[in-house]
């Protein structure tokens, strides 16, 4: 029966209930464990979330002052232990837990599982250096086992295309976290081995919590990496993250980007190497020809051998023509090199004689091919050949004046 004097407002009721919660000594200080879901970090700094177990859920809030003392970033799926009080938010008529402090739960178990598996596989010899396969120097095709979106694949592809376009890339997209991640990674490794599609593979993902990286600590992944006939580079998380697959892999890269740097050579270094090879060949050949020429000159100057001077002259002309053709082929190659290098390593320009030429300097050669190093090397009315970076000019000296 409704009478005027026992009617409450909604707010009055909610406040009454709140009062009961607040004055209950058990509810005003509790310790609770659960898994975070519906996590929201509001722009005001407050954190809103739900805590759940298999059968239940409770709303939770952590105000900015309390959240500021956290030493980790809460995420959905994370297991936590919290201290706080249960009270009522009278506007919504909802009870919820007000979190004062929060710490990670289950890390101890993960750590123990990690160490146990590591010890077991180590005892079996899965980490032994003798099982590590060498990586191909110039891979034709690189298999990548990671998520098709996100920082890891982007970083890897960027670096591969910058360093060495010669290697093709084949991505096997996998789940890198969650319940089916390990299974999915194993499938990819086995696929590449069955099909022999690639000659090296990178397995990995970007950084995340220990739970996020956990697939790479699973035994089935470790065994698949070990069984792989194709060399495997493991690149999981950041530099500080070590996973079991890192230990089993043929090479551990500290990050996915680093894996891309390790798997291919740098094109610029290779081009430098070719340049160096050309210089070495040039030097070598020129030295040998100079030696032969000196030997000929010795015989020519020796009067007892004058009767064969005709033959010697022929030989000398042959050598001269060789020198010219070698200098030409060397110069052609070098100017081509120079064009490429001026793009790639322009700072080296200053060191190269061709760089000097392209800045407007030139070299003068006498008719016998010797470089003019001083005005005293030439006389007036002498033919000289002036070489520029892009061609040469034949000239006759008119007047010689010494500084």
């Amino acid at each position: 029966m409704i009478t005027e004097n026992n009617i409450l407002t909604v707010t009055e009721l909610n406040l009454y209930i709140k009062d009961i919660f607040e004055n209950n000594p058990f509810l005003s200080s509790i310790t609770l464990k659960g898994e975070i879901s519906n996590f929201k970090h509001h722009s005001t700094g407050h954190m809103y979330m739900s805590l759940k177990d298999e059968t239940g859920v409770i709303r939770a809030v952590m105000f900015k002052y309390a959240a500021s003392s956290l030493d980790f970033k809460p995420e959905n799926g994370m297991k936590v232990i919290i201290k706080g009080k249960v009270s009522v938010y009278e506007r919504d008529g909802q009870y919820q837990i007000y979190i004062e402090r929060m710490k990670r739960d289950g890390l101890g178990e993960k750590h123990i599982a990690f160490e146990k598996l590591k010890a077991k596989l180590n005892a079996e010899g899965l980490f032994d250096a003798r099982y590590k396969k060498p990586l191909p120097k110039y891979p034709k095709k690189i298999g990548i086992v990671t998520a098709p979106t996100g920082a890891a694949i982007r970083d890897i592809l960027n670096i591969l295309s910058r360093r060495f376009k010669y290697s093709d890339v084949l991505l096997y997209p996998v789940l890198v976290q969650g319940q089916n991640a390990a299974e999915s990674i194993v499938q990819a490794i086995e696929f590449f081995n069955r099909e022999k599609y690639v000659d090296v593979m990178i397995i990995g993902r970007g950084g995340g919590s220990i739970e996020d990286l956990w697939a790479f600590n699973e035994e089935i992944v470790a065994r698949a990496v070990f069984a792989s006939e194709i060399p495997v580079i493991s690149a999981v998380g950041h530099e500080i993250d070590f996973t079991i697959s890192d230990f089993v892999a043929d090479l551990r890269a500290p990050t996915p980007s680093a894996a891309a740097e390790l798997v291919v050579p740098d094109k610029r270094e290779l081009l430098d190497k070719f340049n160096n090879v050309l210089l070495r060949m040039n030097t070598c050949v020129k030295r040998v020809i100079e030696n032969k020429r000196m030997t000929l000159k010795y015989f020519e100057d020796n009067s007892a051998l004058k009767n064969i001077s005709l033959k010697i002259n022929e030989k000398r002309m042959y050598l001269d023509s060789l020198i010219t053709s070698i200098e030409n082929s060397g110069a052609n190659i070098l100017s081509e090199k120079k064009r490429r290098l001026s793009v790639a390593v322009s700072k080296l320009d200053g060191l190269s004689p061709l760089g000097t030429l392209s800045r407007g300097f030139s070299l003068s050669f006498k008719e016998d091919g010797n470089l003019v190093k001083s005005v005293s090397d030439i006389k007036e009315n002498e033919k000289i050949d002036i070489r520029f970076s892009d061609g040469s000019v034949s000239a006759i000296t008119e007047k010689i004046s010494k500084f």
Partner: protein, 86 residues
């Protein structure tokens, strides 16, 4: 399929060229060759260097992704994901 094989052959050629180039330089620097042998080695070295450089300059990286086909078989397709992300 023919294109694929041809690609693989080209790629083998790069490594083969590099290896030959090393041998040429070693022979030249070893110095134990006649003048004519030396000159043909030199010529070969120049050609090999040019070939290697060309191959590096002209290499086009193919980036593919494996996707499941109708009968669960894996098919190679061009990977477009990176373009979307950038």
């Amino acid at each position: 399929m023919k294109g694929k094989n041809q690609m693989a052959e080209n790629k083998d050629a790069f490594e083969k060229n590099l290896k030959e180039l090393e041998e040429v330089v070693n022979a030249l620097e070893g110095g134990d060759v006649t003048l004519d042998e030396m000159l043909s080695l030199f010529e070969k070295g120049i050609t090999l260097t040019k070939n290697c450089t060309n191959q590096l300059d002209k290499a086009e990286q193919k980036i593919n992704i494996l996707v499941k086909g109708e009968n669960d078989e894996m098919i190679e397709k061009e990977f477009e994901g990176l373009k979307e992300q950038i």
